[in-house]
């Protein structure tokens, strides 16, 4: 259980985290979602006591991290896979962490087996690939078999096999009743993994709900339409109050109407339709809509909503 109350962190002029309050509960995977620069990593650093909050509090299992009797047996974190001394072997890296919490050295071997680094345990970690580094970071987080696990962007740089492995690992951990808190800017990843979501933008809480609720509440209905009479349909839909966009593949996306409404509209206006289908609302879409105003770096957000609106008449 992680509880944040009025958590704020200011770096100079930048308010990186702004009055955040949320609970992360055990037994499920809580996705921590936000665009780059939204304050996800800062929030995790505040939870771990690496940074001191400007105001507010955050506790893990009811205590500040430095008050826990055995920190590693309660919280494990993968903040960034490069937070290791590259000159040290994987085994010694984990051993020096284990020793701080009186964890037996056989536990080091166990987690090395668990993450599949057994064969390179004696190799210096500077030669590790990004994926191996990520596994080493996860091994460190699992060392104390903690009840709370935090992963900051764990699938970054991983191959599909690695992504699947982490996803399954997180699900297994949650199934054991552990608190799993995982950040990502990849909405699709959260859709596949998380049970509930905490969404932030520019340091502020935007939403906290289950994934299904989040999509339902935040994605506008949209319908995918293929028609040879694009201009006519665009004009008709616009005058009916809907927004029309090109979906990027030559079809139109009518936002704000149901399939039957679009069908009726086309019939009334004598517009020929070749295809009419509900567009699956994705978490990605919902997220983009919700955080559109809170994106710090606008460029480079690849989504179908980046496509130009065809036009809106009247």
């Amino acid at each position: 259980m992680i509880e944040a109350r009025g958590l704020s962190k200011r770096y100079g002029d930048t308010l990186a985290v702004d009055n955040l309050s949320f609970d992360v509960e055990p037994g499920k995977i809580t996705g921590f979602l936000g665009p780059n620069g939204a304050g996800k990593t800062t929030t995790m650093r505040l939870i771990l006591g690496l940074d001191r909050p400007t105001s507010g509090t955050v506790t893990v299992n009811g205590k500040h991290l430095n008050q826990l009797a055995w920190p590693m047996r309660e919280v494990g974190a993968l903040l960034d896979a490069k937070a290791v001394h590259g000159g040290r072997s994987a085994y010694n890296h984990l051993l020096c962490l284990a020793q701080t919490n009186n964890l037996p050295s056989r536990r080091v071997s166990e987690v090395l087996d668990l993450v599949g680094l057994h064969d390179v345990a004696r190799k210096r970690s500077k030669g590790f690939s990004l994926g191996m580094g990520q596994r080493l970071g996860i091994a460190a987080a699992l060392l104390g078999d903690p009840s709370i696990l935090m992963f900051d962007e764990p699938v970054n740089g991983l191959d599909p096999e690695g992504i699947l492995w982490i996803r399954n690992l997180m699900k297994a951990l949650a199934a054991e009743g552990k608190t799993v808190f995982v950040s990502s800017h990849l909405m699709s990843e959260m859709e596949n993994t998380a049970d509930t979501l905490i969404v932030i933008g520019r340091g502020r809480l935007i939403a906290q709900s289950t994934v299904a609720e989040f999509i339902a509440a935040n994605s506008q209905q949209s319908v995918r339409v293929s028609t040879p009479q694009r201009e006519l349909l665009t004009a008709a839909a616009a005058s009916a109050g809907a927004t029309v966009r090109d979906d990027g593949s030559g079809k139109l996306l009518v936002i704000g109407m149901t399939t039957s409404q679009v069908g009726d509209l086309a019939f009334e206006n004598g517009i020929r339709l070749h295809e009419l289908a509900p567009a699956q609302a994705s978490l990605e879409q919902a997220f983009m809509e919700l955080t559109a105003s809170s994106v710090e770096f606008v460029a480079g957000l690849p989504t179908e909503l980046d496509a130009q609106p065809v036009g809106k008449v009247g």
Binding site: L48, N66, A83, V84, H85, T100, D113, W165, A172
Partner: protein, 306 residues
């Protein structure tokens, strides 16, 4: 690839969740010892320090015997109209001089070896920041005072052992060379043992001083440059700066506060400049500098975001 089934079998396999007590100092000392012994830079820097101290001490000792020999052969005095009897007197005088500073001559390499322990002392803490390891370290052991103390004590112990070994080996090698001209001293001779031990203490204290600087600056290059500047450059500058205006205070009153002069009187007596502080008082002053750096480092370590 470990399967999820394997995971379920293994997680928690050998971990008790609430053993009595709490994560504390002893475990953290073990951890810090694992850290320092598991990176190659430790061995390389200590080896370099050993080679430089022993090697330069040996060279310097050899140089002294060679100069004495050439003096004996009258190379430098012949032709200046000095009678052979006087040459003998000069040689005997010079031999006595060397013998009285024999310990310091054999430990001369410490002047350079101190710069290498500065590197190790700084890296012990700055490498945690340059690699990002500090975030992992402080997550597993969030009680920062404990981490800092364990780190300092482990490094201090390693530096002391390495410093003593280096100092003793440098002494014996140097004396062996000086003994070829019978200008050596022995470990049992008055105050010699204290000087040799003092050499080890000086290296350890220098390392701890730079550890404190490293904790304050958190940046390898900056900390090493500052440490070397403090130990070496200030020393060099003091020989080139103008003397203070007469009537204020004497040059020696200023020089004795220079870290190297204060700390080194313990192991060298007449080689470099004046040492108005007595050996142990001077070393106390030097330790106070180290303590100030360490306390400054600790305060910042506790307060700053990691």
């Amino acid at each position: 690839m470990a399967s999820v089934a394997t995971h379920e079998r293994l997680v928690g396999g050998s971990v008790a969740h609430n053993p009595p007590g709490r994560a504390g100092f002893i475990g953290t000392v073990k951890s810090e010892f694992t850290k320092i012994r598991s990176v190659r830079s430790t061995y390389w820097t200590l080896f370099a320090m050993f080679v430089v101290c022993v090697g330069i001490g040996a060279l310097f000792s050899w140089g002294q015997t060679e100069r004495l020999l050439s003096l004996e052969h009258g190379v430098t005095l012949r032709g200046q109209g000095i009678p052979p009897g006087a040459i003998k007197q000069v040689v005997a005088h010079r031999a006595a001089e060397i013998r009285s500073t024999a310990t310091a001559i054999s430990l001369f390499g410490l002047l350079f070896g101190q710069l290498i322990i500065v590197v190790l002392g700084s890296l012990t803490i700055t490498s945690e920041y340059s690699t990002g390891m500090i975030r992992t370290s402080l997550t597993s052991m969030p009680r920062r005072g404990t981490v800092f103390a364990a780190k300092g004590i482990v490094f201090g112990a390693v530096a002391l052992v390495a410093g003593l070994v280096t100092s003793f080996v440098a002494f014996f090698v140097g004396q062996l060379i000086l003994s070829s001209q019978h200008v050596n001293t022995t470990i049992g001779h008055h105050a010699v043992l204290a000087q040799v031990i003092g050499g080890g203490l000086f290296l350890a204290a220098t390392g701890l001083l730079s550890f404190g600087i490293g904790a304050m600056l958190r940046h390898s290059a900056g900390a090493i440059a500052t440490g070397i500047g403090l130990m070496f450059v200030v020393l060099l500058l003091s020989n080139f700066l103008p003397s203070p205006p007469s009537g204020w205070f004497g040059q020696a009153d200023f020089d004795k506060w220079i870290p190297f002069y204060a700390g080194s009187h313990l192991w060298q007596n007449q080689l470099l400049g004046v040492n108005p502080f007595s050996p142990w008082v001077g070393f106390g002053v030097f330790c106070a500098y180290a303590a100030a750096a360490i306390i400054g480092g600790l305060v910042l370590f506790l307060r700053r975001d990691a």
